[in-house]
Structures are given as structure tokens and as C-alpha cells.
Symmetry: C2
Subunit: 141 residues, 2 copies
């Protein structure tokens, strides 16, 4: 049955990326960049690239490229890190905040429409189980 969870996760990932790309297209965003903004936003707005990568379950190189491009586009900005000379802290710019807010204004009602069709207990079960799997797989590697 866990195998089924994995297959459904792969599928959901694909469908979410497609749906997400459609949702944020007109804001000149993509799902990948949205995810970076989300990770930063969720954690107080300032992390190094490798920290973002670990949060997202991806390689630091993938996030590094996104961060560089988004910095060029004025969505992010690197600020000096008192704890590390090379590893700058990545922050969201005002422009980035603005766009992220607009994304959330579109995403929240969309998510609520879906969430209404799912029992709250199931949602909690899913969140905690996925978190457990992420913790488990994250530590093992």
C-alpha cells in the first residue's frame, strides 16, 4: 500500500505543477519559483540557498539556479550573512512580496474549494504522514 502512496505522490506532483503553472502564469511566475517564494515566506523570509533546498527536498544546485534567476528578475536579493562569508542570506524583495501576495490571493480560494471536499481528519492524517515520510527519507540520505 505504501507503494501506492508513492505512485499517487508522483502523479499528484505532476498534476500540481501543471495546475500551479496555469494558476501563476499571468503573474510571470512558474511553479518552481512559486515554491521558492513559499519556502522563504514560510520560514521568516531569510535562508541560505542550501537551507531552502533542504526544505524543498531538492538539490542545492537546482535551487541555486532558481535563486540566481529570481535575483536577476528582482524577486529576491542576497544580503550579507553574519555567520558565513560566501553563503548569503536570500530575502524576498518588495517586488517579490507583492507578487507572492497576488499568488496567494489566487491560490487560497482555489485550495479552499478543493479542501471543502475532504474530511478534516483525512487532511490531518495526510499532512502528518507525508511529514513523517519526508523526515524519514530526509534523514536516511
Amino acid at each position: 500500500m505504501l507503494t501506492e502512496v508513492f505512485l499517487e505522490t508522483f502523479k499528484l506532483n505532476g498534476l500540481l505543477i501543471t495546475a500551479g503553472d496555469q494558476l501563476v502564469k499571468e503573474l510571470n511566475l512558474t511553479s518552481a519559483r512559486w515554491k521558492v517564494l513559499g519556502a522563504l515566506s514560510q520560514s521568516g523570509n531569510s535562508m541560505t540557498v542550501p537551507e531552502i533546498a533542504r526544505t524543498m527536498g531538492q538539490s542545492r544546485q537546482a535551487v541555486q539556479r532558481l535563486a540566481n534567476e529570481m535575483t536577476n528578475d528582482g524577486l529576491l536579493e542576497p544580503v550579507a550573512n553574519p555567520n558565513h562569508q560566501k553563503a548569503k542570506l536570500i530575502c524576498i524583495t518588495d517586488k517579490g512580496q507583492d507578487i507572492y501576495k497576488k499568488v496567494m490571493d489566487k491560490q487560497v480560494p482555489w485550495a479552499n474549494t478543493i479542501a471543502h471536499e475532504i474530511k478534516e481528519a483525512d487532511l490531518e492524517s495526510v499532512v502528518s504522514t507525508l511529514k513523517f515520510l519526508n523526515r524519514y527519507l530526509g534523514h536516511s540520505s
Copy 2:
């Protein structure tokens, strides 16, 4: 909370691909090809490329490329489709069956180790909720 489900899904997807790649590396497979074999295997061993793509929640072009490469590698073979001249039915070759079996021999114990740490009710909750989300997102697009 549904937003959290989505973020955890993205993360789990990344970690699963990494873990899967490690698991099947020595069999000259990758997670992507494994998924194609799994989709075919789960559905009686014969589907057209677009059918596989819909099962996996991906674009038919992505699956087409994988299918072409795996055909060149002797894992798959296209057979005539009585219902469609162009859209061949993709089948797993004996060699493909062999490798898939070896993958499962490695994956099943690995999955069981993890599954033991999760309550069965939670697992059922996750599977049915993910399936619902996939059905919902699949129909809407």
C-alpha cells in the same frame, strides 16, 4: 492545511526520486523509467503512450521519449494496436520483466521497513485522499 499537503507532496516527490534513483542505480534504471514499468505492470502490461502518460499525471511527450529510449534499450516493445494504426500498444519485453522483478525484490522490503512505522488507518487515509486529489485535478484540466 491543503497548502501544506501540496508543499509536502513536492518535497516527498523530490526525496522519492532521489531515493528511487539510488535504489535502482545498479540495475541501469532510473526513477522515471521505473515509473513507466510500474504503470505498465499495474495495468495488464499493454497501454498506448498517452494512456501511460495520463496514468502517471504527465505529458504524453515526456512519456513518449522515455518509451522510445526504453524500446531502444530493449525494455519495451511496441506491438500493433488493432484499434489504432499509429498508436502502438507498448508492452514490456522479457528483459524488461526481468529487470522489473529485480527492482521489486529490492523495493518491497525497503517499503515494508517504512510502512511498519505508519498506522494502517493513516496509510488508507493518505491513499484515498491522494487518489481523490488526482481525480479532481485530472478532470479539471
